[in-house]
């Protein structure tokens, strides 16, 4: 009997500790209002200073292998909300709204994302920015449609994300990235290119498919190796050996920076000397590699670069608040808040139907460029290439 009890206790202990580790939710308002807003705020609640509160919900990874994306989006949003509230909030008709951010950690996992989204709905969210990663976002779009909430994703780039009429996207799509990178390869006269992609991830597969199609339309002999891996893989030696022996001059890796950090390390160990090019998931790579010379000269797509003059004000505020240089995800989060503000003002209402209607009528001049949205939820905007030079992200 004693033994049965001890086995039971051991099992319970293991499970309960696992549960503790899994959940890390965070509720934050803009820094100077956090004391007033409390744990959860009701959409129509009357705040202390006479303004009504409008809750913007977001889910994204604050922990886990993609934590950099979620943290950046959250901090970008906080800066934007602070700016808007300091300037007197958002005037909608006769009412002035103070914006409040409720950010839930989803660890970039689908199941956590669904729970996190439901938590936000229960907390009375008025509009939703998210999810940060593609897989989580796809798991949420039907929920947001059923709950009838305006959804704008800062960075989920799979085409299927914007299928529902209430969902909009701020970043460019996966196929567009694939096409732009294919064009870059052709324009720069590379004779041979290899691609290493994650075939278990919609984001990576979307970019890969468009890229391969474009390259093969141009010259079928250009693509000398097409290798894949699965989410969670840490050993890429086999694929890299194949790529190395194919003689490719350029390796295209459409993947998140966590995978990329393993790939560039192992490519160096295998004695590879080809150039690297990546998708926008590469943003954050410098924080994850042990040695920045591994990615020296690598090129990737990004809508935002902190060293540009137009971003100076945002960058200085961000650095003062968080002691870090903002990346494109921070800029995406910041722009999303301003898009919601613009939609609220245009709609003259905070009802979802009016907000969705207003989305196609607004033009927002954001950090990631001027953007307009069409009825299918897609943005019209441009992208730029970023190169890593001397361990810094620089514009090309």
């Amino acid at each position: 009997m004693k033994k049965v009890v001890s086995v039971g206790l051991a099992a319970v202990m293991a499970v309960s500790v696992a549960a503790c580790g899994g959940e890390t939710a965070e509720t934050t308002a803009a820094p100077e209002t956090s004391a007033a807003s409390g744990e959860t705020a009701e959409t129509q609640a009357e705040a202390a200073d006479g303004m009504e509160e409008f809750v913007i919900g977001t889910t994204g990874p604050l922990t886990g292998s993609a934590a950099s994306y979620g943290t950046s989006v959250k901090q970008g949003e906080e800066i934007a909300i602070q700016e808007i509230n300091e300037a007197g909030g958002v005037k909608v008709g006769d009412t002035t709204y103070k914006l409040v951010l409720n950010f839930q950690d989803d660890e970039a996992k689908e199941d956590k994302a669904v729970t996190a989204f439901n938590t936000l709905v229960d907390a009375g969210m008025g509009a939703y920015i998210g999810a940060v990663t593609t897989g989580s976002c796809l798991a949420q779009t039907d929920l947001s449609y059923e709950a009838n909430i305006l959804q704008i994703t800062p960075s989920a780039s799979a085409e299927a994300v914007t299928t529902n009429p209430n969902v909009f996207r701020l970043c460019f799509t996966d196929p567009l990235q694939g096409e732009m990178i294919a064009q870059y390869v052709i324009d720069n006269g590379y004779e041979s290119v290899a691609v290493l992609w994650n075939n278990a991830d919609e984001y990576s597969a979307g970019i890969h498919d468009a890229f391969v199609e474009c390259i093969e339309n141009e010259d079928a002999g250009l693509l000398v190796a097409d290798e894949s891996f699965a989410t969670g893989d840490v050993d890429f030696n086999t694929q890299l050996t194949q790529i190395k022996n194919s003689g490719a001059k350029l390796l295209f890796v459409p993947a998140y920076y966590g995978d990329v950090s393993y790939i560039v390390q192992q490519a160096k160990d295998a004695g590879m000397e080809c150039d690297f090019i990546g998708s926008d998931g590469w943003d954050g790579i410098l924080g994850q590699v042990t040695d920045s010379t591994l990615v020296e000269g690598a090129v990737f797509l990004s809508p935002f670069l902190a060293t540009e003059d137009s971003a100076a004000d945002f960058v200085s505020k961000y650095e003062a608040a968080y002691g870090a240089t903002p990346d494109q995800f921070a800029a995406d989060g910041y722009d999303c808040v301003y898009v919601i503000k613009a939609a609220m003002e245009q709609a003259g209402s905070v009802e979802t139907d009016a907000l969705v209607q207003a989305m196609t009528e607004i033009t927002v001049d954001g950090l990631t460029g001027q953007v307009t949205f069409d009825a299918s939820g897609e943005p019209t905007k441009s992208a730029k290439f970023v190169q890593i030079v001397n361990g810094e992200y620089t514009a090309m």
Partner: protein, 293 residues
């Protein structure tokens, strides 16, 4: 083409020898305690984090940090046995199995609480230049991995076959009751087996993070499972079987990834396991057991 095959074989040997190191821990513990220690994979993770603490946080020199890592893992292995498995020695095998799985989750969750799930970059402490033989390139870490595993396997074989403690281990694995009657301290022998197995896992952990240079609380799970498969493939309970099983597994994995399909690699590995077990149920080098009624 020849270069490519050679390089893929070396890739396979390197991953295979890490699997073999881990598989030795599974197989030794199974031989002596007749249980599958599913927490073994997570000892690798503890080893990796200990090395990280030693080098990045305590700024120890490389060799003392590695010794510390092996010591911490050995003590942890013995503690786990004393606290979680010893009280269950007479319990049904299923209870022990569930406890081992619980222990695995426990270690992962503690690491998750302390270090969070964000991967920590860790610069390799083994910095050896790559060697070029003809057109074949062999990285420094590969050479170190192969050398270390070869030396460890030779030492372990000598230890088991030539020393008194090794004889005691073999005697306990053959017949625990008889060994006890012959004056062998069974508890001490079992503790020693866990200590050696965990020290091997610590070495695997060190080699693992020097190769992949990134720490996560779940990093031991996958190599742990693969090494378990290797131990079964080679014949669980057999020390040479674990070595052979690990290397065969690494080679099959690498070659099928390279020349058949990345997606099918795991299916092929497990397919081979199924075929081997159908033909030889006790594994490649496992002993056939006669059950007397």
């Amino acid at each position: 083409m020849l270069t490519s095959i050679m390089e893929q074989l070396i890739n396979g040997l390197r991953t295979g020898s890490i699997y073999a190191l881990i598989a030795l821990g599974y197989t030794m513990v199974y031989g002596i305690a007749k249980m599958i220690n599913f927490a073994h994979g997570d000892i690798i993770m503890v080893g990796a984090y200990t090395l990280y603490i030693g080098i990045a946080l305590l700024h120890l020199p490389v060799i003392p940090a590695m010794v510390l890592t092996a010591a911490v893992c050995s003590v942890l292995g013995m503690l786990i046995e004393k606290i979680a498995y010893k009280p269950l020695r007479k319990a049904p095998p299923l209870a022990v199995l569930i406890t081992a799985i619980g222990m695995s989750y426990f270690l992962q969750s503690v690491a998750l609480l302390i270090f969070s799930s964000t991967p920590i970059p860790f610069k390799s402490v083994i910095n050896l230049n790559a060697v070029q033989i003809g057109t074949v390139n062999i990285s420094g870490i590969t050479i170190v991995t192969l050398a270390v595993t070869t030396v460890i396997m030779i030492c372990l074989t000598l230890f088991i076959n030539k020393t008194k403690a090794g004889s005691a281990m073999r005697a306990v694995s053959e017949d625990r009751g008889a060994a006890e009657l012959m004056g062998i301290n069974v508890n001490r022998t079992i503790s020693m087996t866990f200590a050696i197995g965990s020290a091997l896992a610590a070495v695997a952990g060190i080699l693992y993070i020097c190769q992949y240079q990134s720490l996560r609380p779940t990093l031991g799970a996958l190599p742990g499972i693969k090494a378990f498969v290797a131990a079964v493939l080679g014949g669980i309970g057999s020390v040479p079987g674990a070595m052979l099983g690990g290397i065969v597994l690494g080679l099959i994995e690498s070659l099928s990834k390279a020349y058949i399909s990345t997606e099918l690699a795991d299916a092929i590995v497990f397919g081979v396991l199924v075929i081997v077990l159908l033909v030889r149920p006790s594994g490649l080098l496992g002993k056939k057991k006669l059950v007397k009624v």
